[in-house]
């Protein structure tokens, strides 16, 4: 069970800020594939992962990174702070 968070237009596209996901996914990419298969709104949000960033337990990470031991996964577009 992981807590999945969405920010900015990813949040808007999926229509959720956060949800708990029951998953056996080994990597972030596996999780993205599982979520995309759920519904068109997920598929639309994850259509181009090169336009997305991911954080595992609040650390910027890669889509190829393993999910073992991770409690919080966040998906969002490139940051535009400052």
């Amino acid at each position: 069970m992981v807590e999945v968070l969405y920010f900015a237009w990813v949040r808007e596209r999926i229509g959720l800020a956060r949800e708990q996901v029951e998953t056996e996914a080994k990597t972030v990419a596996d999780l993205v594939a599982e979520l995309s298969a759920r519904e068109p709104r997920y598929e639309a949000a994850f259509a181009d992962t090169s336009a997305l960033r991911v954080a595992l337990d609040q650390e910027l990470s890669e889509f190829s990174d393993p999910l073992a031991g991770v409690r919080e996964v966040a998906f969002f577009p490139p940051m535009t702070g400052g």
């Binding site: 968070l5 920010f7 900015a8 237009w9 949040r11 954080a55 609040q58 910027l60 966040a74 969002f76 577009p77 490139p78 940051m79 535009t80 702070g81 400052g82």
Partner: protein, 146 residues
């Protein structure tokens, strides 16, 4: 060192009044203030979303790195979130160092970081509609120089 992520306005005068003061090893203080700008003439407000928890931790970590790398006497980062009108300050950075080059470089580094790695997202509220601000390649390039 002080890090604050807040929706409330900050008081630049109060923040800078005591910053880097009362030490005899500070020769240079640099501040940067980011302000909501209206390039299109159509902007009503900017909305800043952030990732509570990660934002503070990530900024704290990078500021500690800057303190060590440029041997800063002090550093300050304040970043707002929520809805901000044109002309309102979005964020500020301050650095205090022995020499000017260190103070300038550290402030620029922190800005380049905040622009492209801190978990903030800007949405523009225009009279004609709303749009998320796209990340700029120039900001990513700016960070890579450090």
């Amino acid at each position: 060192m002080k890090i604050s992520v807040q929706s409330a306005p900050f008081d630049f005068a109060a923040e800078t009044a005591s910053f880097g003061q009362g030490r005899d090893d500070v020769g240079a203080v640099v501040t940067f203030t980011g302000v909501v700008r209206d390039d299109s003439g159509d902007l009503e407000a900017l909305e800043l979303e952030h990732y509570p928890g990660m934002t503070e931790a990530a900024i704290g970590k990078i500021t500690e790195q800057a303190m060590a790398r440029w041997q800063l006497a002090d550093a300050l980062v304040i970043h707002r979130h929520g809805r901000l009108a044109v002309g309102e300050p979005i964020m500020m950075v301050a650095t205090a160092a022995r020499h000017r080059v260190a103070a300038f470089e550290a402030a620029e580094f922190l800005m380049d970081y905040l622009k492209s790695r801190a978990p903030f997202w800007k949405k523009e509220h225009m009279r004609s509609g709303t749009a998320w601000v796209a990340a700029k390649e120039a900001d990513e390039d700016a960070l890579n120089r450090w």
